[in-house]
């Protein structure tokens, strides 16, 4: 099975300079997810928040967290500007937060094949997190890591665990289970 934490971390890290969608059930959880992503990404990603595609494209070496005011417009602009991410090549991804079943997803399905293809597979819905079998997941975490999620997060939060891709992924996984 796909661990949700791995899926989220993977969506953000999978494509250097790529595009990832994080689907949010509501605006409140959108804010929470933005903060979670900010807290998890490597510091050299220098994440910043914006509502503008042009601003996101203007910072190719920083992780842009697009929190749209108008989801449909942002998706249309991403569709029309996709290849601007190739020149100069982005080194950090663009992460777009969209409401589930909102205008952004509707526009993606209806009008924006390039943006859809760009993100293909980097499309995470926290609904999957809500559907977690917590007991089974905690058991799997403990079996793989050797500690409970809470125990593992203590040294992580005190910066005593190296910030490797594997550990970021593990941190994401643990946080969904604590």
């Amino acid at each position: 099975m796909r661990e949700p934490g791995v899926a989220i971390a993977g969506a953000i890290a999978r494509d250097e300079g790529g595009l990832a969608f994080i689907t949010c059930p509501d605006l409140d959880l959108r804010d929470w997810l933005v903060r979670e992503v900010e807290s998890l990404v490597p510091s050299d990603a220098r994440p910043f928040r914006t509502s503008s595609v042009a601003e996101a494209l203007g910072e190719p070496n920083r992780m842009a967290l697009i929190i749209p005011n108008d989801e449909a417009e942002v998706v249309r602009d991403l569709d029309a500007c996709r290849d601007q991410a190739l020149e100069p090549p982005r080194t950090q991804p663009i992460v777009l937060f969209l409401l589930r079943d909102g205008d952004g997803h509707h526009t993606l399905a209806l009008e924006a094949p390039s943006a859809w293809s760009w993100a293909g597979g980097s499309d995470v819905d926290p609904e999957a997190l809500a559907e977690l079998d917590m007991d089974a997941e905690r058991e799997a975490f403990t079996a793989e890591v050797g500690t409970t999620p809470e125990e593992w997060l203590v040294p992580w939060r005190s910066q005593d665990v190296p910030r490797t891709q594997e550990n970021f992924t593990r941190a994401f996984w643990a946080m969904t289970l604590e």
Binding site: R76, A80, D83, Q84, H105, L110, S117, A119
Partner: protein, 394 residues
């Protein structure tokens, strides 16, 4: 042995220098370039996202370059295509053309052959910056002012004369992102108004393919759809090997690494090659023949392998998760009514499908146009097939 999976870059088309290029089973560029060389002046290219249109355009550019000025203009690298105006398009083409001419002049050691008068006029118009290929462009004392279209015409004439070529081909990429609006039609019509002495090979949106392209751009324009190669069964052998070859090229491996010759693994002394090939061919099958989807599946599977086992060659479980990611993506591309509509046209030429739905699904590669002999038919993408059957986890 470690592999540089980051080098797969599924979303980056190849440049026109030919490095890493693999000829697709359709031989698209190899077929189109001679047509242009022998008098077809307008080719409109269509195809689903990720099928390799930009890479084939770069290849066409390379094939035409020996006998004419072949200028690849990647509009979408610089412009928001949604808001593109005819003037912006003319200015971008002019800029790239002048840049190409100067690079070519420098390469041949003949010095700069673009006149100071033209460069000055382009600088005044804001078409070129104060420097072009490292050479400062002075502001002229008496500035010529012209519309972007007139400056493009001037540049075309001067470049043809300066380079000694009688023919110029403009290979224009990115216009497939134009929305279906009156403003977009103006952009396409403006492209068609460029002198008949200039060949135009341009990627266009699907709605042009199903409209009347010769009315939209130029009379007698040829519409050429770049097909995704078949990857199923015996007839899909060439398609699967094509994708495997792309993978080895991007990873910087010898093609024998994933060739059909099973002894290659022994020859090269590479362990796990046979297993690797089986997994690669399975990814090829799931990609539906779309190179971008294939590379994304392989990159994702490799990332799962990296996270779980520290860089081993991806296994079936990694690929299964990569496929699941892609299926989710396809699921979100489907709208109410799509399942029935797609099932109804599978295996037919698709004429009975409502046009807007057909355009939307073709553009995304949910349905793929295949060719068998002289017959065209619609095929359902393998990643969409289980979703249409209602088996999300199939």
């Amino acid at each position: 042995m470690s592999f540089d999976w980051k080098a797969l870059t599924p979303h980056r088309p190849l440049d026109s220098n030919g490095v890493q290029y693999v000829v697709p089973p359709s031989g698209f560029a190899e077929r189109i370039a001679p047509l242009v060389a022998t008098g077809t002046t307008t080719v409109l290219v269509g195809g689903p996202v990720g099928v390799g249109k930009s890479t084939e355009l770069a290849r066409i550019t390379a094939l035409l370059r020996d006998e004419r000025v072949a200028c690849l203009v990647r509009l979408d690298r610089h412009e928001n295509i949604r808001r593109l105006t005819p003037d912006q398009m003319f200015s971008r083409i002019t800029r790239d053309l002048v840049e190409l001419a100067r690079i070519e002049s420098a390469r041949r050691g003949r010095g700069t052959q673009i006149s100071a008068a033209l460069l000055g006029a382009l600088r005044v118009a804001g078409t070129v910056a104060s420097q072009v290929t490292g050479v400062s462009i002075p502001v002229p004392e008496v500035s010529f002012t012209g519309s972007p279209r007139s400056l493009l015409d001037a540049a075309l004439s001067e470049v043809a004369r300066a380079t000694g070529y009688t023919r110029i081909s403009l290979i224009v990429d990115g216009l497939e992102k134009l929305p279906d609006t009156p403003e977009s039609s103006e952009v396409l019509a403006a492209l068609g108004q460029i002198s008949d002495e200039v060949d135009i090979i341009a990627v266009v949106p699907w709605h042009v393919a199903f409209g009347v392209p010769e009315d939209t751009i130029r009379p007698a324009a040829l519409f050429a759809s770049l097909p995704a190669p078949g990857v199923d069964g015996t007839s899909g052998l060439a398609g699967r090997q094509f994708l495997a070859d792309i993978l080895t090229e991007r990873l910087g491996l010898p093609r024998e690494h994933l060739s059909e010759n099973e002894d290659a693994s022994q020859i090269l002394g590479l362990s796990g090659v046979k297993l690797g090939r089986a997994m690669v061919l399975e990814a090829a099958r799931w990609s539906g023949g779309l190179p971008r989807t294939f590379l994304q599946l392989m990159a994702d599977a490799a990332q799962y392998a990296q996270i779980r086992r520290g860089g081993a060659w991806p296994n079936e479980s990694d690929l299964a998760d990569a496929i699941a990611d892609q299926k989710d993506s396809f699921r979100r591309a489907l709208l109410p009514g799509d399942s029935d509509a797609v099932r109804k046209v599978e295996g037919t030429d698709g004429r009975e499908m409502e046009l807007s739905r057909k355009i939307r699904l073709l553009a995304r590669g949910v349905i793929l146009e295949r060719r068998q002999g002289s017959k065209y038919f619609l095929d359902i993408h393998p990643l969409a097939q289980p979703l249409l059957e209602g088996k999300r986890n199939a």
